[in-house]
């Protein structure tokens, strides 16, 4: 059990103080680094909020994919197994598997960018 405010709330507040209160006091040559610090805090905040939801969601989809092939891989190995299979076009022979594999690639990428760089997603026309 953790105390409140949560870690992600503290990060959001700290970032706000950095950008709103401290940034104007910093010399010009230090501001780029300060912006990088703020950016890092924003990523950490979003990732803390998402916790391991992304990992679990992708693992569920991979389990569905591999259940079709009867592989029964361990969940933590599934992503590595998925990457290895894509290297050798493992899903090429089955249209449903190939479609599912592509869906997972999109889901994985969009979910990661929602945490790491939502502005880049928006600039590419994603919500």
């Amino acid at each position: 059990m953790r105390d409140l405010p949560t870690g992600s709330t503290l990060l959001a507040l700290a970032r706000d103080v950095l950008l709103g209160d401290l940034m104007p006091l910093l010399p010009e040559e230090a501001r780029l680094d300060a912006r990088l610090v703020a950016n890092s805090m924003a990523i950490a905040e979003r990732e803390a909020e998402a916790a391991d939801g992304l990992r679990k969601a992708i693992a569920r989809e991979l389990e569905k994919l591999y259940r079709w092939t009867g592989e029964g891989e361990e969940p933590e190995n599934l992503l590595r197994c998925f990457a290895r299979d894509l290297r050798v076009d493992r899903f090429k022979g089955s249209e449903p598997q190939e479609r599912k594999a592509r869906e997972i690639l999109w889901q994985l990428t969009i979910s990661k960018l929602r945490q790491a760089n939502p502005r880049f997603l928006a600039a590419n026309g994603f919500r």
């Binding site: 890092s40 592509r102 999109w106 960018l113 994603f126």
Partner: protein, 353 residues
């Protein structure tokens, strides 16, 4: 006594003195006085120092604004060392490419602690976000893109064999097949699986174009690596990745989304549509650009950018280089992965995304 070290034990002073002696001998001057030696920001793989020096006599008589370029504490394995980069820069300068004039080089560690070269310092800005955002530059950007196309075609006139560039690996050793093998070898040792990269690399493997006659490729020809003084191009920078390659390789790199900065919609380096850039290139090169080859190399560019981004964060994660910018760069690999999906599976965008 603390705080009163003699001038003779001041490493900075000794380095300045050693550099002044080197410049004196290299330029044939009677004396050289260095009034400024300041590290320049930027250059993740190489270190750049602004050198202000006054030459008495010799080939550079008078006040000179110079840059000393040397390797950063940890670099990317594929990059040229400073002496090799100096040789490439000399070849480009001789071919009429707009570059800072290369002047002298030395591998003697007694001078600056490591090999380095000296070039003229050029005026202007290279900051890609400023160039792609600056409203005042807008009207000139198509002409700048056309000029960059011509510059690139001039670089591509340099072809093997060249005894002065004999250290560059043969094209057969650096072509797409070998690059693909290199990407996979890297991913095999990376702690996190990258399924999108694996999928994109597989596409590259099964769509590799036939070999072309190799040319000198800059291999990092992009917005951020050229300098503009107002609307005037003053120099193409950062030649540490140069090598023999397919000319479409540089075109794909310049146009890939990872290098469009604030303007993803402007496909030529974030500064214009492709037409002016292609026009400049084709008019100078005297041959047409093949769009299907550009597509291949543009996809490879996104894969390569992703791998470089991961390697940059390795410099923090593995080599311990304390640099927040490098640590954050690893996150950009996922941006490249989105582009790989958008290029190869444009119909697959999830309906709710």
């Amino acid at each position: 006594m603390a705080g009163t070290a003699s001038p003779r034990s001041d490493p900075q002073r000794e380095r300045r003195a050693a550099l002044a002696r080197f410049l004196t001998a290299a330029s044939g001057a009677e004396t050289v006085e260095i009034s400024g030696l300041v590290p320049l920001r930027g250059g993740a793989i190489q270190e750049n120092w602004a050198v202000d020096a006054c030459f008495s006599g010799g080939s550079l008589a008078g006040d000179q604004a110079l840059v000393l370029r040397t390797a950063a504490p940890t670099g990317v394995p594929a990059s040229l060392d400073p002496l090799q980069e100096f040789a490439v820069l000399k070849a480009a300068f001789a071919a009429g490419v707009t570059v800072p004039e290369p002047l002298f080089a030395s591998g003697d560690p007694a001078i600056f602690g490591k090999p380095f070269f000296i070039m003229r310092r050029i005026d202007g800005i290279a900051a890609a976000h400023r160039i792609t955002r600056d409203a005042a530059l807008e009207p000139a950007l198509p002409a700048i893109a056309e000029r960059l196309g011509r510059e690139l075609a001039r670089i591509h006139r340099i072809r093997p064999p060249r005894s002065d560039l004999a250290f560059l690996p043969a094209y057969e050793e650096v072509g797409p097949t070998l690059q693909i093998a290199g990407f996979r070898a890297y991913l095999d040792h990376h702690p996190t699986p990258r399924p999108v990269l694996e999928w994109g690399i597989r596409w590259l493997e099964t769509h590799t174009p036939s070999p072309s006659d190799p040319v000198l490729c800059h291999h990092d020809f992009r917005t951020g690596n050229y300098m503009l003084d107002g609307t005037t191009l003053t120099g193409i920078l950062d030649w540490e990745f140069a090598g023999w390659g397919d000319p479409h390789e540089d075109i794909g790199w310049f146009c890939c989304k990872g290098w469009r900065f604030a303007r993803l919609d402007r496909e030529a380096g974030g500064i214009s549509g492709r037409a002016p850039f292609y026009r400049g290139y084709e008019s100078e090169a005297g041959r047409a650009i093949d769009p299907s080859r550009v597509f291949f190399w543009e996809l490879l560019a996104s894969v390569r950018w992703a791998i470089i981004a991961l390697q940059q964060s390795d410099r923090y994660m593995i080599a311990g280089e304390r640099n927040l910018d490098l640590a954050l760069t690893g996150r950009r690999a996922t941006e490249c992965e989105l582009e790989i999906l958008m290029l190869l599976d444009p119909a697959g965008v999830p309906p709710d995304a």
